[in-house]
């Protein structure tokens, strides 16, 4: 009797497929472009996927629990703009960040309540929230761009720390956004694969009814996954604000939800719940990031890039399905 549990084994196999796809892409790009393999470019790719990655970790929880969240792009915008506005109003760093994160968590809470006790399919509940939260962000900013700088009222010492979060480099080398992503991924991995909570997320996503019989409070597990998702979308939004450092309610994070879901599904998570890993998600995010980077380096026209991205999503998930299928049948 071997030790590893089912999910780590299934996922182990899945991750292998995604991992190989990533390796193939990287090898191809290393040979066909001179700059791909440079450490600057690789760190760039890392930075560019970080915000997507942070949200994708949250979406992994949501998808495994058998739900979906379409409101993440709007939450990203609202929380980032909210924190930014507070800093511009002269708030300190910690209170402004806390407020932004709480905003994200509250949206997650509402999503969770609607999708469980509210008995709405989460696709529709969060589709409604997508529109509501975007509207609130527009109302809150009156449609005006929010730029965090001292001219607008941010305290210099607050601004400095805020910008470091988004634009700084750890040890002058690793982009801070990437550090945040790594930390979130590590934490997400620990929670999902090593704790009772993570166990319950899988159980609820596999069969909500059997989970209930086992004494698992399915509603609260699902609500928590939405809250985690909301928090991480807010974190990503705040980091985006700190990076740019500006945002606009009509545009920031528009359509991001589909990118996030695509990355997680490419990483092997199932839309019907019960299946997925943080490692797979990280690989999925990297595939999307490397693909975008590679297409630009190759000088592919932006319109062709759209086609290629769609193709890669379909092919990556198809390979995954077909390889798992041939192993189990």
């Amino acid at each position: 009797m071997s030790r590893p549990s089912l999910w780590s084994r299934i996922a182990g196999r899945k991750e292998l497929g995604v991992f190989l796809a990533l390796v193939v892409m990287c090898v191809f790009l290393s040979f066909s472009t001179s700059s791909f393999l440079s450490s600057i470019n690789l760190l760039n790719v890392g930075r560019q996927v970080s915000l997507l990655g942070i949200m994708a970790v949250g979406m992994t929880f949501v998808l495994i629990s058998g739900e979906i969240d379409l409101s993440v792009g709007s939450t990203y915008a609202l929380s980032g703009l909210g924190s930014g506005m507070l800093i511009v109003m002269g708030w300190g760093l910690v209170p402004a960040l806390m407020a932004g994160l709480m905003l994200g968590a509250s949206i997650g809470l509402i999503n969770g309540l609607l999708s469980t006790y509210g008995r709405l399919p989460s696709l529709i509940a969060t589709l409604g929230m997508l529109s509501i939260v975007r509207g609130v962000a527009l109302l809150m900013t009156d449609g005006q761009p929010v730029t965090v700088n001292t001219r607008n009222g941010a305290l210099p010492q607050v601004l400095e720390k805020f910008e470091f979060m988004g634009q700084g480099y750890l040890f002058g080398l690793v982009p801070m956004q990437l550090v945040f992503f790594a930390a979130v991924a590590l934490l997400g991995w620990l929670v999902l694969s090593g704790t009772a909570f993570g166990f319950r997320v899988f159980a609820v996503g596999g069969s909500a009814k059997a989970a209930r019989v086992s004494g698992i409070h399915a509603e609260s597990v699902k609500i928590w996954t939405f809250v985690i998702m909301g928090l991480l979308a807010a974190l990503a939004g705040i980091l985006s604000m700190a990076f740019l450092p500006s945002g606009q309610a009509g545009r920031t994070g528009l359509g991001l939800e589909l990118d996030v879901i695509a990355a997680v599904v490419v990483g092997g998570a199932s839309l019907s719940g019960g299946v997925g890993t943080v490692l797979g998600t990280v690989l999925g995010v990297l595939i999307i990031g490397v693909l975008r980077n590679g297409l630009v380096l190759q000088g592919v026209s932006p319109f062709t890039q759209e086609v290629m991205i769609g193709l890669v999503i379909i092919i990556a998930v198809a390979i995954d399905k077909w390889s798992t299928r041939s192993r189990t049948t």
């Binding site: 440079s38 760039n44 560019q48 700088n149 500006s246 606009q248 009509g250 545009r251 359509g255 932006p302």
Partner: protein
């Protein structure tokens, strides 16, 4: 301010290239390569690529997306000898522009400006001024009296806010003119038309529609034409899309303001090439072309 490469810390790899006379890699980044405006700008860039000693490349994200625009430039930075940027969001691109400049690569802005950044010069239309121009045309065609609705496909965008500001400044200064509302139409063509249709029905007293961009201009003109209001309800708008030209000919649109997008694309490359070859360059106003049914032939 006029600038010269002598005062600029040019990256050595670029200096070498200039010295050897190799064609320069000039990248022209546009904030949304899938919008109506983009093909015109691209034509200008392609013309520059053919006529000037430069490999000019037109780049940018599909769909206005600051992150995408930044990521692409970051990715290509090692290859860029000169960069022209039209930014989605003025503030969002500034740190990047400064980073590119600090790497010894000359950057200018075109079409939309980033005045707070270290960019060298700006080539294009002054957006606030073009708004004022549109406002003046409106006052003119209304004989200083009427109810005006402003339409835009993206009320929250910086270019829209700038133009709206300019237009309102002039309209509100005119005694007989009342600005009823700013209508945010959304970007889908059907949505644009429907929004205008609903708004006109809600307020039948409107006598002037001032569109701030390419795309609600033909929709406003179509609505006016189809409802037999050509000439009664005045339309002032922007750009020279095919449909807009038709509507100006049909006198459903009174005035349209051209931004010479192709020229903007060409000049963006040209300024960078001049700069790198040691010429002093300065801000360039690509001008506004004001077209009515009188002179629309010259636009075709």
């Amino acid at each position: 301010e006029p600038v010269n490469v002598a005062d600029f810390a040019l990256a050595p790899r670029i200096a070498e290239k200039v010295a050897s006379g190799e064609p320069l890699n000039i990248m022209v980044s546009y904030h949304d390569v899938s919008n109506e405006f983009a093909p015109f700008v691209r034509q200008g860039v392609e013309r520059a690529d053919a006529e000037l000693n430069a490999n000019a490349r037109f780049i940018g994200p599909v769909g206005a997306d600051a992150d995408g625009q930044i990521s692409e430039i970051e990715t290509l930075m090692a290859e860029i000898d000169g960069l022209a940027i039209s930014a989605v969001s003025t503030d969002a691109l500034s740190p990047l522009i400064d980073r590119v400049i600090d790497a010894g690569i000359p950057v200018i802005s075109y079409n939309t400006d980033n005045p707070d950044s270290k960019r060298l010069v700006f080539a294009g239309q002054d957006l606030v001024q073009s708004g004022r121009d549109a406002g003046e045309q409106m006052v003119n065609v209304l004989d200083g009296k009427g109810r005006v609705m402003i339409t835009t496909i993206d009320a929250a965008a910086q270019w829209s806010l700038d133009r709206e500001g300019g237009a309102r400044e002039v309209l509100e200064a005119s005694e007989g003119i009342e600005v009823v509302r700013t209508l945010n139409t959304g970007t889908d063509p059907q949505e644009i038309y429907s929004a205008i249709e609903n708004a006109m029905l809600a307020d039948p007293e409107i006598t002037g529609i001032l569109s701030l961009e390419c795309c609600s201009t033909p929709a406003a003109g179509e609505w006016v034409k189809r409802n037999g209001q050509s000439g009664t309800i005045k339309v002032v708008g922007f750009d020279l899309l095919d449909q807009t030209v038709d509507l100006v000919i049909a006198k459903a649109v009174q005035v349209t303001i051209d931004q010479a997008p192709s020229r903007q694309g060409f000049e963006a490359v040209s300024l960078l090439v001049q700069f790198l070859n040691g010429e002093t360059i300065d801000d360039l106003d690509t001008g506004v072309g004001i077209f009515t049914s009188e002179n629309i032939d010259s636009a075709m």
